[in-house]
Symmetry: C2
Subunit: 193 residues, 2 copies
DNA sequence: CTTAACTCGTACTTCCATGTACGACTTGTG
DNA sequence: CACAAGTCGTACATGGAAGTACGAGTTAAG
C-alpha cells in the first residue's frame, strides 16, 4: 500500500478500490495460491493498472491480504471469553477460529511462497501468543500436558486446523462436523496422558 | 518413462541414468517443490536433453519421483511387525514412517501442484490402507476411539507427521525428539476419551 | 566391429506472469 | 468549476521455465 508520508487525505474512491482489491486478493489467493495479479484485479472489478497504483508488486499485495485476514481474525477472537476452565476456553476459541483458519489456510500458503518466513511469523505473533497463553494457563490448572515442547503444542493446533480445512475441501469431512472433530482432536492432544 | 512396447531391453547406461534422475528429482523436489527440470538434470549429473529422452514432461518426472519414494516407503514399512497390541504396533509403524514422511513431505507438495488429485490418491492407497487396517484393529481391541470418522483418524496421522516435518525444518523441533513427539501426539489423538 | 541406442550441447520457439511507460479519460474535492 | 487524484486500456520490456529440433559424438551389446 502506497505510503502517504504527511497525510494528504486519500480520495474516497481510491480507498474503496483498495478495500475491494484486498478483499479480492483474500478470496482469490484463498482458492488458488498461484492466482495472478490479473485474476485478482478482475475479481476486484478494477483494472490491473489501478492495482499497481496501490501495490508496487505481488509481495506487497499478498502481505496486505494476509494482514487483513489476520486483522479480521483478531477482531473476532478478541470477543472470545478465555477465562474459566482452560478446556472450555479452548473449545470456545476453536469454535471461533475454525472458519477463520479454513478460509485463510490457502492464503497462508500463498504468503509462504512470496514473503520471508520472518515476516509471516511477525504477522502471526498475536494469535500464536493467544493460544500459548491459554495452553500455559491450562498447564497451570493441571488440565493440559507438560511433557511436550510448548511450541509443538501451540503449532500442532494449527496443523490440525489446516488438516481439517483440507479434508473439508476434499469433501472427506462435512463442514458441519469440522469444528467438533477439530475440538475433540485438539483436546485429546493437549490432555495429560 | 518411455514405454518399451515389446521389451527391446534397455541399455545399462540408460537404466543407470534413469535411476540417477529419479533420485535427483526426489532430493531436489524434496527441498524445493518448484525445482526446475534443469536443476534436476544438473543434480543428476546429466544433460537436460537426456532427461527429456526418458521423461516427456515435468508431470511424468514428478510422478516417477513420487512413485519411487512410495515404493521405497512400502519396502521399509513391509518389514514392520503390526501384530499384537495396536498401540505398540502403531508406535513401531510411526518410528519407521517418520523419516520417510519427513523426507517426502515437500515432494508431495510438488506432486499436488502437478498431478491430478485422483492419481495421488491412487499412489497413496497402499500406505493409507496399512494405517486404516491398524486403526480398525485397535478399535476392535478397544484401545482406539470410535467417535470420529475413520478417514479423519487416518489422515490426521499424516497431518501430524507433516507438521512435525515442518517444525523440524524450521528448527523449532530437534530431529531426535521428533519421532517421540509424533508418537505421543498420535497416540493421544487415537485413544478413547 | 558394427550398429543401434543413447548422450547432450546449442539454439530456438512458446508461453505466461511480472512490472513499466505512456497518455487520455473520469471523478472526487476544496 | 478547476485541478489534482485516480482510473485504466494498450503497448512494451523482461525473465524464467517448458518443451522442440537438430545433429554430432559416444558407448553398450550382440
Amino acid at each position: 500500500m502506497r505510503i502517504m508520508r504527511t497525510a494528504r487525505p486519500r480520495r474516497a474512491d481510491a480507498a474503496r478500490n483498495i478495500a475491494r482489491i484486498v478483499s479480492a486478493a483474500r478470496s482469490c489467493l484463498g482458492r488458488d495460491p498461484g492466482a495472478s495479479i490479473d485474476d485478482i484485479a478482475k475479481a476486484a472489478g478494477v483494472g490491473r493498472m489501478t492495482l499497481y497504483g496501490h501495490f508496487a508488486n505481488r509481495a506487497e499485495l499478498v502481505e496486505a491480504a494476509l494482514a487483513d485476514a489476520l486483522r479480521a481474525g483478531e477482531e473476532a477472537l478478541a470477543a472470545v471469553d478465555l477465562t474459566g476452565d482452560a478446556r472450555e476456553a479452548l473449545t470456545r476459541l476453536l469454535d471461533s477460529s475454525w472458519a477463520l483458519v479454513a478460509e485463510s489456510a490457502t492464503l497462508l500458503t500463498a504468503a509462504q511462497e512470496t514473503l520471508p518466513a520472518e515476516r509471516i511469523r511477525q504477522l502471526h505473533a498475536a494469535p500464536a501468543q493467544r493460544v500459548e497463553d491459554l495452553v500455559r494457563r491450562g498447564q497451570e490448572q493441571g488440565v493440559f500436558r507438560t511433557d511436550l515442547p510448548m511450541t509443538w503444542l501451540v503449532n500442532v493446533v494449527h496443523y490440525v486446523l489446516k488438516g481439517a480445512a483440507e479434508e473439508t475441501r476434499a469433501e472427506r469431512l462435512e463442514p458441519e462436523r469440522a469444528a467438533e472433530v477439530v475440538t475433540a482432536t485438539v483436546l485429546s492432544v493437549l490432555s495429560p496422558r
